[in-house]
Amino acid sequence: MFSYPQNLAISLTEEQGMLLDVARGFVRDQAPIEAVRAQLETETGYESRIWQSMVEMGWTGISLPDEVGGAGMGIGSAVPVFEALGGGLLGTPLLSTTIAGQLIWRAAGEKAADWLGRLCGGQIGTIALLDHADWGVPNTGLKLDETGSLSGRKHFVADAGVTDIFVVVANENGTPVLALVERNALASDALSENVLIDLTKRAANVDFTGVTPAHVVRGDSVASALRDTLLLGALLTAAETTGAAGRCLSSITEYLKTRKQFGKLIGSYQALKHPTVDIYVGMENARSFVYHGATIVADEPLSSDAEVACRMAKVAADDVMVYAGDRAVQFHGGFGFTWECDSTLFIRRAQWAQQMYGGAIHHRKRLAALLLDNEENG
């Protein structure tokens, strides 16, 4: 008999609750939407004082262990922070740095303490993963040859323009390895910036050809670390997207409560009201998945329950954000179509987020296999 594996753990630790409050307060006070807008067309996309504050609050190290300079709260503690940042559409390289830290830690552990210590201390990290556009392949086309030199390019490397430490996914004689590359090892013309749909985010194509990595992480742990880190990337992106969907929802409801047409507040029309309710319900569902994920992920290799949680969180968050961003533009009418309206930020965030760490179909296909083909369930 089929029995749907139902891990339904959901809770919030005192630390996670505090992080949620503090991060929401930080976004409200330090990075209101006008401040975010002011950075849309700057080179880095964020203010360095904002980044410095995040580093001082310890956010770059919250999910890394004490031994390497972190706060040892586990990766689940990053979820409320990213939900709050998403709620303000605040970019910054925190997501890239957190993911880089997870990948190094999971693959190399304390042996990479120096590198991890630098990330905790505020240096910016990112993973260079995509050989081209497909999240669903190994992406190990870039070679580390016998002379210890890399050859090849990586695409859409998040925050590459400000990165200090690149974690490059490569292959050495067909085996996946992680090449740690310092920024100053890159050629001066190695980066070509992408024109991203979401102007709060930055990414670039990076040519690593001829670069000798400062350090190489090898071994069996690399493949499993990579798998888990991509799942955590999906979870943290989902957290950020859920926060953005919540903010998008409140921008819609504010408008529906104040805008009048044909002598009535437009929020009284069911044609606008009911889709807005569906955005609300979708946002709450995504939030439940995201915090379920936050409850069950750990420093250990991810369980299959955790894998299900991360994938479901990503699907739910993408679905609601794409819908919310799309409806936000439409429901604001002519104004919604203009650059001035925040709906344009939301619809652009939705398009950016839905592909990060794999789109809905990518995850749903894997969920089908996990849930329907497992012998124990069959």
Binding site: M1, F2, S3, Y4, Q6, L8, I10, S11, L12, G17, L20, G246, L249, T253, L256, K257, L265, G267, S268, Q270, K273, H274, T276, V277, Y280, V281, E284, N285, R287, S288, F289, Y291, H292, M312, V315, A316, I361, R364, K365, L367, A368, L371, L372
Partner: protein, 400 residues
């Protein structure tokens, strides 16, 4: 009073053992899926006897006072019994209007005489209750009730008509909302609440056939029906307040209901097990990539509902929309179930077209019937569309 985990665990074992012994076998005729669909004398007799048996064993209304037939126990005990009933696929406990609405209402607001007269017989199924609120011209708009009750000596004379009277043709009593004063300044002040007998001259319940092909509710006609004046609950003209309290019990906003096992529960596992046995294009249905993707969608919905139910008790994750999760339970849950049943009914090849009564029907036409029956949940107690308005207005603060 909260009993220890160990005591509850031991109780669960005791109940499970009792169920294994006593849950009746398939009677060989169709049983209703919910209390809204009791349509034959055969079903009625069977369910009455089953409820009586459960109550006699001490497993119904466990948290109601002992002097009125309960056990005076913590509500956790009844919750365990309900879970076990569901787990053992036990027939439904059908006297729902009495058990879940009238009983709690009487225990809350009734006089000593009323409690003594009615409550125990609700539990034992000796007396069946129905509800006379909605009228043909006034579905959800209860303030507009037109059925008249005129006092003559020690009786009221009732004229008018009620509709969607579940169990009306079998009931011994009705909670009746009627207009005693058409001249009242506020329409609500002209209403009174009666614990009316049903088996008197001038009251006729005419069964209404449903989309399932089954019966269960009625239109009830009152033609110069004389009921004792002592049936009035509370004051004359004070009926609105009592009716609103009743709705709190009906909608589960206030606790105290005697049994949650009023319908057959269908889980996502049932759906997938059913579909797993089916074929399409000469292959297992579950090898079809589109079906697999659809099922991921259903499994996600099922999990989101369960997770959100649990998240309600994590207060720090409910500050943005404090009542939001609670007020959207019906909206999310009933629509999910409707789609899930329709989906399962539609994936049976040519057998999708078969209905209850055909020997070839998948699981006796269970899914087709369950799909139709589910409209009771998406319409009754406030339609999905009304629920969406409630969420929009009370959770999101949108204008009426």
């Amino acid at each position: 009073m909260t009993d220890s985990k160990a005591a509850l665990k031991a109780f669960r074992g005791e109940v499970a053992a009792w169920m294994a012994e006593n849950v009746p076998a398939d009677p060989g005729f169709l049983l209703p899926l919910t209390f809204l669909e009791v349509g034959t004398e055969q079903q009625l007799d069977f369910l009455r006897e089953w409820q009586h048996q459960l109550w006699s064993a001490g497993y119904l209304g466990m948290h109601w006072p002992t002097e009125y037939g309960g056990q005076g126990a913590d509500p956790a005990y009844q919750f365990i019994v309900d879970k076990e009933l569901s787990r053992h696929n036990a027939p439904i406990i059908f006297n729902t209007i009495g058990l879940n609405w009238v009983g709690p209402l009487l225990l809350d607001m009734g006089t000593e005489e009323e409690k003594a007269q009615y409550v125990k017989n609700i539990l034992s199924a000796e007396e069946i209750w129905c509800q006379g609120f909605s009228e043909p011209d006034h579905g959800s708009d209860l303030g507009a009730v037109q059925t008249r009750a005129v006092k003559e000596g020690d009786e009221y004379v009732v004229n008018g008509s009620k509709i969607w009277t579940t169990l009306g043709n079998y009931a011994d009593h009705m909670i009746l909302l009627a207009r005693t004063n058409p001249a009242a300044e506020r329409k609500y002040d002209g209403l009174s609440f009666f614990l009316s007998p049903m088996k008197v001259a001038g009251i006729e319940a005419h069964p209404i056939r449903k989309v399932t092909g089954e019966y269960g509710f009625n239109q009830t006609f009152f033609t110069d029906a004389r009921i004792p004046a002592s049936c009035l609950m509370g004051e004359e003209g004070g009926g609105w307040k009592v009716a609103m309290k009743t709705l709190e019990y009906e909608r589960g906003v206030t606790a105290g209901q005697a049994s949650g096992h009023w319908g057959v529960t269908i889980q996502i596992d049932d759906m997938i097990n059913e579909l797993r046995a089916l074929e399409q294009d000469g292959e297992a249905l579950l090898s079809d990539p589109i079906v697999r993707d659809d099922l991921v969608g259903f499994m996600m919905e099922a999990k989101a509902l369960s997770l959100s139910a649990r998240r309600m008790s994590v207060s720090a994750l409910n500050t943005d929309y404090p009542m939001g999760l609670a007020l959207s339970v019906k909206y999310r849950g009933t629509e999910y179930e409707r789609r899930m049943k329709q989906y399962t009914a539609s994936k049976q090849g040519a057998r999708s077209a078969l209905y209850v009564g055909d020997a070839d029907a998948v699981r006796g036409g269970f899914w087709q019937r369950a799909y139709f029956s589910n409209f009771g949940a998406t319409i009754g107690g406030g339609t999905t569309q009304v629920q969406a308005n409630i969420i929009a207005e009370h959770v999101l603060g949108l204008p009426k």
